[in-house]
């Protein structure tokens, strides 16, 4: 059994969490509140030291890009969210700027992966798999027709096929995920057994 205090704390945290499976309890609640607090403070530290500080030093001061000061001041307006209601609209300025910057990138860039996928649907229909893929894809697409072909028997039937295909897809995804979720537990288990209890596996 390990005598390292860090490992002991890790083991206690792990067991406190699992106790929830039996019943919500004191140890679990302490762990939950601690985690929420630590995570928030970790984020603050991380942002400050690896971002705000170096960017301020390198760009605002080092390169004399003085608009960083303006942007920083605009960023401070975010805190008006917590101000009395008549000032809260000020927080919209930084939100508007950063949302806009993100959207422009998304508008320009996000269609590209979709086009790649569409091009792949257009494979020559010369193998069984290509044909099946094409049919399955079209069936699922037609399930999502909301305004087109409401009366068409063909679209309705194809939509129903699409729903079955989706169920097969979901079954596959579910079955495939089981190994991932078990791996998560095995990771904790090997920590408890090897690192804490010292049993070699």
């Amino acid at each position: 059994m390990s005598t390292d205090p860090q490992i002991l704390v890790q083991a206690i945290c792990t067991l406190a969490c699992y106790s929830y499976l039996i019943k919500e309890n004191f140890a679990y609640r302490i762990a939950e509140y601690t985690l929420v607090a630590l995570y928030t403070s970790y984020q603050i530290t991380r942002l400050f030291h690896s971002f705000i500080k170096p960017y301020w030093q390198n760009y605002a001061i080092g390169e004399k890009q003085y608009y960083f000061i303006l942007m920083g001041a605009l960023g401070l307006l975010l805190y008006t969210r917590y101000a009395p209601p008549q000032y809260r609209w000020l927080a919209r300025y930084p939100i508007a700027l950063s949302v806009g910057w993100g959207l422009g990138g998304a508008i320009a860039r996000s269609p590209r992966p979709v086009f790649t996928q569409l091009m792949d649907v257009m494979r020559p229909l010369n193998t069984a798999n290509n044909v099946l893929f094409f049919v399955f894809f079209m069936a699922v697409m037609s399930y999502f027709f909301f305004t087109t072909g409401k009366e068409s028997k063909f679209i309705q039937g194809s939509g129903r096929l699409g729903r079955y295909i989706m169920m097969i897809g979901f079954g596959t995804a579910f079955g495939n995920t089981v190994q991932g979720r078990i791996s998560l537990f095995l990771n904790r288990l090997s920590f408890l057994l090897t690192d804490w209890l010292g049993i070699s596996i």
Partner: protein, 220 residues
Amino acid sequence: MKREVPLALTFLMTLLRFLFEMINPLLNYEISEGVMLFSRISFSVTFMYCMGLFMGLINLTRVHGNTIKRRREHWIYSVWLLIVLYGYAILGLFFGGLESEAFNWIYDAVIVPLDSTMFSMLAFFIASAAYRAFKIRNVESLLMMVVAFIVMLGNVSLGNAIWGSESWLGGFSGIKDWLLAIPNAASQRAIGIGVFLGAYAAILRVALGLEKRYLGGTDW
């Protein structure tokens, strides 16, 4: 001032970024040797947004401060939360930060194991979900169950021992691969394209100023 200016700002920033992403000379424009305009604008936008780093701290202080003030159920845990919150933040900000040994010790001792353990509880929940969900009520649940069974067998050595990958159709793992590559991929792709269309329409209506809810508030 309250809404026209933010909407106009959104539009201008969207257009600016769009042009940067589309037009090659603009994307590669340098203010001076090695200093790229695109990167400086990006950095300043991120810099601005990161100024809100204390938002989470203020949130928690308000919520748990209220709990303590009104002596709601479990208020004593809220006291603990605030002590940890401020203690760790002060340690991180003023005592060495990310290089500080104490700071990283706590990170490794508490955050990492709690994070992984909570996540790992899914191993148990997926078992209870499978147990409840895969009861054959109709064609759809039958399909899901049969397929999930095959895929589970295809993923582990046990399935390989029953129907090996060298035999007809590649055994369970061969069928699993086919299921993943054809019906699953087809349905994922079609759903994904639908979601993309929903998302794309939404971002376009923001860019066009038809959507205002992202700015918050209910005074529209």
